[in-house]
């Protein structure tokens, strides 16, 4: 039976890792909702949630429970299967991106070298793009299946926004990839650890463009047009109630967490702690330092995401499209040409 001739320890290791990664993303996303409201309160000179538990720390649990106990409504004129599929897809695509992120270096556990990355594939970044481009489906299918014109409008808006900003995102990354010469996120991180500077120093414009596009891809304000409640009642999830609505809202926070991690990995050195030489530390210490560094950077980025949301008003639809097509894409192309020329002349080819 050759079917059983398979490294089951490897499979088990990966399964445990996937479970941990998903749990961590869920917990972070849960507390991101709490942090968002606290930050909003801080920005608007209020207290924010402070009733459930000490400092309101149990607020996300209370919110989750409330969503679970709400009445589940499936509109009678909706397409039932697709109506349920929409939030499932949104959640699924939000979770899938985490597979290629390197959370830390290799550690030795019980005689095995455990790689703190679910899959180190040589096309890591393209995989992320693939999953991000699928993220549109949850929104579109949910919006269409609701059989409500506001939902459909919001879904179409969201999809066209996502498609437009994916282009600029891809173009801004090409310049980075010219420098690194690799698509594997592990390799990109290791280059930043070994080199002197993080990629943000070489690619300041690329970082800025990528950051803006990440905001748009996560449907965060000022790009939250699919949820413009003043124009569309509520957005693409208008007909949803109970935990299906929760899935849609929650997947956005997971997306935010994952995209901040990706920005940290690509541009800010990943699990590289500044001013610390990881090679001198022992295995477990290096692991902890790396995790602290990665999560620290991610949380700072999440805070900036929230800061922007509570500071800037929403774009108008034509402004959004103009910015994407006439602002970001030419800038990204310009960045690409400059980087290409520099790489060519200094012959920093790999």
């Amino acid at each position: 039976m050759t079917l059983l001739a398979f490294d089951w320890g490897f499979a088990l290791e990966k399964l445990v890792l996937i479970a941990i990664v998903i749990t961590v993303s869920l917990v972070v996303a849960m507390y991101a909702t709490y942090a968002e409201r606290k930050v909003a309160g801080f920005m608007q000179d209020r207290l924010g949630p402070n009733r459930a538990g000490p400092f309101g720390l149990l607020q996300p649990l209370a919110d989750g429970l409330k969503l679970f106990f709400k009445e589940e409504i499936i509109p009678s004129n909706s397409n039932k299967f697709l109506f349920i599929l929409g939030p499932c897809l949104a959640m699924l695509t939000a979770m899938m991106t985490s597979a290629v992120i390197p959370w830390g270096g290799k550690v030795e556990l019980g005689g095995r070298m455990v790689d703190l990355q679910v899959a180190d594939i040589n096309i890591g970044i393209l995989y992320i793009f693939g999953v991000v481009s699928l993220g549109v489906y949850g929104m579109m299918i949910g919006g269409w299946a609701s059989n409500n014109k506001y939902s459909l409008m919001a879904a179409l808006r969201g999809a066209s926004q996502a498609i437009s900003y994916e282009l600029a995102m891809g173009l801004s990354l090409i310049a980075l990839l010219m420098l690194t010469g690799s698509l594997s996120l592990r390799t990109i991180t290791e280059q930043q650890i070994q080199g002197n500077w993080w990629n943000i120093v070489y690619q300041p414009l690329g970082f800025l463009l990528f950051f803006i596009c990440a905001l748009a891809e996560c449907n965060r304000a000022p790009f939250d047009l699919p949820e413009a409640e003043s124009e569309l009642n509520m957005g693409y999830h208008q007909e949803y109630s109970s935990m299906k609505l929760g899935f849609f809202l929650f997947s956005e926070y997971i997306n935010m967490f994952i995209s901040c991690t990706i920005i940290a990995t690509l541009f800010l050195g990943g699990y590289d702690m500044p001013f610390v030489d990881e090679a001198k530390l022992s295995g477990i210490a290096a692991l902890i330092v790396g995790l602290v560094a990665l999560f620290g950077k991610t949380f700072i980025l999440i805070f900036i995401f929230m800061w922007i949301r509570w500071t800037l008003p929403r774009f108008r639809y034509d402004q959004l499209m103009n910015l994407g097509w006439k602002g970001l894409i030419p800038l990204a192309l310009f960045n690409m040409v400059i980087t290409g020329a520099i790489v060519l002349f200094t012959m920093k080819a790999h």
């Binding site: 793009f129 481009s133 579109m140 179409l156 698509l183």
Partner: protein, 166 residues
């Protein structure tokens, strides 16, 4: 039967089944969703052939971009009517006849080609990996590659011109 063969058969059944569902679904939106499933299973086949780059590009371009546009069009045209108007009988016959003869010609043309007789190399060969593919594209086939990019550019310009006219 190793794990690769097992995966191959699962993927094959999935590909063919979802491709058939594309044709047999009454609702055009369902057809599109089945087509997306088909693209995914084809990408799975690419991964089995060690062509990860092709697999992911297939997903990005077809499942991620083109199918979204299909969905856009179908959703905006609101084609979800209970029954499409029935075609005439002779039209159905003509369709079956022409489609069937096309399939016959294709099978006849492909059945004796060299590539059909060669055995598929599973998980070996690296032409589908991004490094080797880039080398081949930009060294051996640079001219056709550039010409096709000019073709895309002209298509883009054409689309902008048509869009401006209204």
């Amino acid at each position: 039967m190793g794990i690769t063969q097992l995966l191959f058969w699962i993927l094959t059944i999935l590909t063919l089944g979802s491709a058939l569902m594309v044709i047999f679904s009454k609702n055009p939106v369902h057809s599109i969703l089945w087509l997306i499933v088909t693209f995914f299973s084809i990408s799975g086949h690419y991964v089995l052939l060690n062509a990860q780059f092709l697999a992911i590009v297939n997903i990005i371009v077809y499942a991620g971009a083109i199918m979204v546009l299909f969905l856009f069009v179908v959703m905006l045209m609101n084609l979800n009517m209970p029954a499409a108007p029935l075609k005439k009988k002779w039209l159905k016959f003509a369709g079956v006849l022409s489609g069937g003869s096309l399939m016959l010609v294709l099978i006849a043309a492909l059945k004796d080609t060299e590539s059909m007789r060669r055995e598929v190399l599973m998980q070996t060969g690296d032409i589908g990996l991004i490094n080797s593919l880039g080398m081949v594209l930009f060294k051996d086939y640079i001219l056709p590659f550039e010409i096709s990019s000019v073709l895309f550019l002209s298509a883009m310009v054409g689309a902008v011109v048509i869009g401006k006219k209204t």
